[in-house]
Each structure stands twice: as C-alpha cells, then as structure tokens.
Symmetry: C2
Subunit: 448 residues, 2 copies
C-alpha cells in the first residue's frame, strides 16, 4: 500500500504554524524582489512601500500592490525577451515556455534549474493528493509546445514515479486506440478536449464508462469545477474527476488541486500563497466564503517570481476541515468566474461560466455551447447556441423529438433569464455541430 500523503508533516500542519512559515517566506521574497528585481523595486517605490513595512499577513494584503498581466506584457516589450522581472543570481535557466495566446506575441516564462526542481516537487505532492500513484499509467493529452501546462503535468508525473505517456493533443481517433491498447489509467487534459475524446470514443463504438481510465485531472480551463461538466466527464468515462490549476504565470500551477475527497480545490498555500480579495480593491481582503478575486504569490520561485499576481479568476475560500486530513484552505466551488471576461449585456454583468453552469443544469443539454452577442439597432442581442445530448433523447420516438427539443429550448431560456437577468435567445443544435477545441474552448463570440 502507498502512503496517504506525499509529505505528511507539511500537508497536515496546523494552520497557525503554516501561516508563520508562509509569513517568513513572504518576507524573504519581498526583500529578494526589492533588492534584485527592477520591476518590483519600481513598483514598490511608486507605491511608497518597503519590504520591512510587511510585519503580518494582513500587512501583505493591505500594503503590497498587485501585478497585472498587462504589466508583465509591457515589461517584456521594453526588456526583451523576459522583462525586467527575471531575477538575479539565478541557477541556470533550464526552460523557456510561453503563454498560449494565439494572437500577437506570447509572454515568455523563463524557469531556473532550482525552480524547475521545486515545480516537480510541488506538482508531485498535488497530483498525489488528487490520487495518482506510481502504479498508474498517465495519458497526457495536452499539446507539448509553448503551453507550460503540459510540461508541468509531465514533470509532476515523473517526480511522483508513475509511468508517463505524453502523447499530446490531436489525432483523437488514434489517441483513443492507444489509450485502450496501453490500458492507461489516468487522463490529464483540458475539460474541453476530454469531452471531445468522449464523443469520439462513442463514435468508435467504445463502452466509455468501462474504459481503462480510473481518474482524470483537468487543467487549463475551469470546466472540471462546474458540477454539470464534472458529471458529464465523470459519468461518461466512469472516472473520478479532479479539478486542478491556477495559471501559467504561477507555475507550480497545481497549487489549486482537489484531493481524493473531491470537495473543491485545496489551496497548497505554502508553495503559492493565495488570497481572495475584493473585486474592486485588491488590497482589501474578503471574509471566508465571500466571492472575490484570486491573488497569488510565489513563495519559492527565484526566476520571474510573482508577488501578488492578480489572476482575474473569481472564487471563494473556506478553512473548514476536509476529511482528507490536509489543513490547507479550500476553494469549495472551484474557480467559477473570470473577472476579466465579464460580459456586459444590456447593462447586466454576465459571466460566461455562469451561463455554462445554468445551461448544463437543464436536463437534455449537451456539453458544448456558444454565446453570440450582436447589436440590433441600439440594443444588445444575446443568443445561446447549445447542442442537445443524444444519449438523453435516446428512447424518444423520432416524431416526438422536435416537441421535446422545443421544451428544452424554453426551459433553458427561462433558467438563463432567472439566473442572469438577461433574456437569451436559445437555439438548440444537433449534437456535434459546434467546433471542438483541442485545447482551450472559445465560447464567446462578441460581434457588437
């Protein structure tokens, strides 16, 4: 039998004791970045704050300005290629990766030897918590190129001691053949690509609920934290589903990760310190279980350390104990919103993830959808296109289907109106009409 924890002392430490360690690491990082990294010295000088002003964790939240993605992009424009926040006196840079943005220049991630080893250790710890064991054969179905998600998964699996099959994304038919032939037991992919694999496997006539897989870890998109998506994946594949990941800048990005209890993501905050703050003021904390923006801090990175990085992700946090015995806080509902992606439709604030959540709760909907926004005269016009789930309507006689889909459409429209306050035209589409993403899905088409 395997041990229960990767690092028992670390993972089950009393909260107060851990917070003391975190505070010490924060102080050390603040001195490092202020002394060695021009980007941070400028930022803190402009804010009139010094490392020694931070005496408590509360000081850290209240006094230290956040770093936004746009600031990193600007720094890299001025200081090719890694910006003026790379760090000094580093162990050798062993890896370069980049943001997976398809438009324009990516932002680049440079990672030192010491940091890469640290990433491997943290990823192994978190994947162990999620349930991977050395006896597993892990099917890694994300694209191996710029996207650091793929590479971070791989070194976590390697460090943990499981067998890695890094096949990448795409060539789905062949990929499924290999999955079955090799008997791979764990899948790591984006939720979107996993759903595409599921549909393709059904086309191949496979009994997907009895695949060799026993669990999946889903990264790159928050989908696996949305109950209906989680259910579609879990029931479709007959597997246990773990939601995981923060954001590329924060590598080791596994520090948000579900344990085997699947009670929302634990926050491994002694590697990446994680705060939930006011959406309007990143220096104002919010109480437990209040929705806010996630702000992350690298406690151990020497290369491109992020200190209070504003992720733009929305969540809420609890310190309620988890049955797994880990004393880390949790995000019980995962990451359920993108503050930067918020749509304003006829004056109302609407998150695409909220539309997704509502839609998937309507019995009969499939997993793929799109939001299309247009101007009609002066008014916003919002349409949701959603596929129906062929499995759900399997036993309905063909001549009754139109009537049933009509009911589905009406139910979805009512649910969306109630939840968002916005009237959406709902179009119900045939299964597999919408294009499938092999990495991150694009679901909002704003033509206004």
């Amino acid at each position: 039998m395997y041990k229960r924890y990767w690092d028992e002392e670390r993972e089950t430490m009393p909260r107060e004791k851990r917070e003391k360690l975190i505070l010490e690491k924060i102080k050390k990082q603040l001195h490092y970045v202020y002394q060695e990294i021009p980007f941070y010295r400028d930022l803190y000088d402009r804010a009139g704050v010094k490392p020694d002003d931070v005496v408590t964790l509360e000081d850290f939240t209240a006094k230290i300005p956040v770093v936004k993605k746009s600031m990193l992009r600007e720094s890299q424009e001025q200081h090719h290629p890694f910006g003026n926040y790379l760090g000094a006196n580093l162990s050798p840079i062993v890896r370069i990766h980049g943001s997976s943005g398809t438009t324009g220049k990516p932002t680049f991630y440079a990672i030192s030897q010491k940091d890469w080893e640290h990433v491997a250790e943290v990823h192994a710890m978190c994947f162990w918590a999620a349930g991977i064991r050395p006896s597993d054969r892990v099917h890694l179905a994300t694209h191996f190129s710029l996207f650091i998600g793929s590479w971070g998964s791989l070194i976590g699996v390697e460090k943990l001691g499981a067998t890695a099959f890094p096949i990448g994304s795409g060539e789905t038919d062949r990929q499924l053949n290999l999955l079955w032939h090799l008997g791979n037991t764990v899948l790591i992919s984006t939720p979107s690509y996993c759903l595409h694999m599921l549909e393709t496997a059904r086309h191949q006539g496979r009994d997907t609920a009895n695949s060799p897989l026993r669990m999946g870890i889903f990264i790159g998109e928050p989908g696996a934290g949305i109950p209906a998506t989680k259910r579609a994946i879990g029931e479709g594949w007959g597997i246990s589903v773990a939601d995981c990941a923060t954001t590329s800048e924060m590598t080791p990005w596994t520090t948000n990760c579900e344990c085997e209890e699947r009670t929302g993501m634990h926050v491994f905050n002694d590697a990446v310190y994680t705060e939930v703050v006011s959406k309007d003021n990143p220096n104002e904390p919010v109480p437990e279980m209040t929705s806010g923006g996630l702000v992350y801090t690298h406690l151990e990175r020497e290369s491109q350390p992020m200190i209070r990085f504003w992720s733009g992700d929305e969540s809420r946090m609890t310190n309620e104990p988890c049955a797994c015995g880990r004393t880390y806080p949790r995000l019980p509902d995962g990451v359920y919103g993108r503050l930067d992606d918020m749509l304003i439709i006829r004056g109302a604030n609407v998150y695409p993830s909220a539309v997704q959540k509502e839609l998937l709760e309507v019995p009969g909907t499939g997993v793929e959808f799109r939001i299309v926004l247009e101007k009609k005269g002066h008014l916003d016009h919002a349409t949701v296109q959603v596929e129906y789930n062929p499995v759900y309507y399997n036993n309905i006689p063909a001549h009754e289907l139109p009537q049933q889909l009509d009911a589905l459409q009406k139910a979805a429209a009512v649910k969306l109106k109630n939840a968002t306050g916005v009237r959406f035209d709902v179009e119900v589409l045939q299964p597999e009409t919408l294009e499938r993403a092999i990495s991150k899905a694009k679901r909002v088409f704003d033509h206004r």
Copy 2:
C-alpha cells in the same frame, strides 16, 4: 571556458581498453537477456547458442543472431503491449513512446527509470561532443508526441545544462519569430523540417545566414550526412551542422554523432556497440571502410534491450584517429543508405539516398525532390521531380530562365544515369512545388 569533453577518461580511452569493457558489458547483457527475457531465450535456443559461447567480440558477431524490426512487431502483437522482450526486475517504467509510423499500430517503447537516466547521460555526452554548451539556448523543433527523438533530445539538453525551448514542429512562421526573438543558438530538428524553416524564413525576408543560430543537430533522417544537404543547411543558416542518431529502438539514439571536427559521426560504442556487417550475412563482419549493414547492441539498457538489432541502415566504419581526440570509431560518410528501402528499377539496385546525393550535386537544384516509379507496359519507368534553386538563378534574366532550366534537366539526367545505371526522366519544377514534411520526408512514390 568549458571543459573539452563531457567525460574525458571515457571518451579518450585507448581502443583496446575500451573493447575489453565492451566485451564485459556484452557478456553481462547476454546472460541477462537469456535468463530473464523469453524473446531472447527462444531466439538463442532456436539458434543453438548460449551466452557462454561468446568469449570474444568476434564470437559475438559470428554466433549471435540479429533481431529484426518485424520480430519486435510480431512479439508485440502476441504479447500486448510491450512484447515478450520488456525485461524483468526492472526499475519502474517511467516513459512510454512509440514508433512514428503513420500506418497501423506503432511499436511501443517502454523505458525504465534507470535506463532513462542512462539515456540522459549518454545524450548529454554526445551533444557535448557535437558542440552544445550550457550557455546555449536550444530550439527543439520536432513533434513532441510518440516520436522518442524529441524527448531524447530534450533530456540530453537538460542533462547537459543548456536552456531548452521545446516548441515542437509546425506553425513555422510563428516558430521563426520566436527563434529570432529569443535569440536561440542551437536548432535540433529533422533535416527536412530545417530546410522548410529556411525557405519560410526567406519568405519572411529574414537574413537567414545571420540568424541567432550558431549550430544545428539533425536527427530522424540521414539528410545532414549528405554533403549537398549539409551544405544547403549550413550555408543557408550560417551554422555548423552536426549529423546525429541511430534509430528509435536503440535509444540512447545519439550514439552516432558528429564531434566539432565534423568528420562524420563518431560511434559511441561503449553505450551502444555498433558493428558493420555483410549486407547478406549479419554474422559476417566486413573490413574497415567496407560498406555494410549497421547492427546495434544496447550495453546498458535493462528495459527492452536490443542485442544485435539489424537497423537496415548502410554505412562504413573507420578507426582512423580524429583531431578531436576521441578514440571512438567513426562513420566518415554517415549513414548513406537504407538497405530495406533499396529500389529495384529495371533490375538495378538504387538507393533513394544515392539519387538525392547525385541530384544535389548538380548546380542549380533545390533541396526537395521525389522519385516516382510507374509501369509502362512491362517496363519500369522512373521519374525524378526536382525543384530548382531560386537563389542560384537570381541574376538570370527571365527570358533566359527556360533555357537554363533545360540545361539543368539534362545535366541531372546524365549524372543520375552515370551514378545509378538507370535512366531517369528528370522534371524540373518551380521552387516550393513539392509538399514539405514537418517530420520525415516521403520521397519515393512507387506506383508499380
């Protein structure tokens, strides 16, 4: 300044001393595979040979039967998924990869932890010999999926301590932008893809001969050993070109690798023992500098060890000293033929690589070509399609071009006839007419 060798004692050891070590390793491997691996026990029992029959290196060549690719494929068909030659009492299997064949099921490579570490060490040693140093930034432009060539390059670069940029193949425009932006100094790719990158970079209007690259290591195809291809790559990019690689089954596949003297590939035969044998009888050695088939033996692999693997590659070997000081033998002309790919045209034996070599020596030819074979009546009809090199004809007035290309066609036809004894119809094509390969190029179309 960096040291000259990765492992001086090992690389510069007197030949006799090394051969004693090799013999000891061979004996140990023979006992291991005979005792623990059914595939080899069956093979050797059928051949009536026992490990103790091998007392000298000559015995090894004369008595031990070769393993062919078809035998591995058959073994995997019968014993899913890794065949009955995986090995026993292994350290954990950490990686699964596969042959890159696009038709049918790949053969699978399973590699143990201990072997993967050994692969990293050998790859670092050979890449060091080729000239990579820790200060280099390495652009890895091969597809990261089944193909073990990509992953073997990566762990070699990592172990050596250079910076890895594993971007993969494809999206060539973007890839070139990143290469220039990051200032990458070393390229690892197939020769075909490198030539495609070169053309694309010229289209982008870049001064390719003054790129940030200073050297390239070329794997997956023997192209970089063909003088004209080597020249096209070297002059086009303004880089030093190193030919490298054995074959996937033999991972660590870097054990054929050029040193900085670029005098043909050294054979790092204390990791993979390499023999040149008669094309007709794999138990018959050929003298130095006589052409024959390459047969490879893993001296340290525990997982899927290959003992006398018949590669199907043709080459010749010398023990003449090299100015680099390494005492390994060399393949001074690289790998210049595929015995299994040999074409029979009107009864004559023709190697596609020989056609390539001849063709590229005709001034004015570009780097891409195809051989098309058809039946006309009862006779074989052979056509070579070759693009002309636009740079070569840059200063020719447009009205003179047809005449010049006519001359090119005739010159190529004569050269091919003289070298192969076969009459080829030569068609000269516009530049960039033929499809470019992003991994291995397909150049023979046999419609007979």
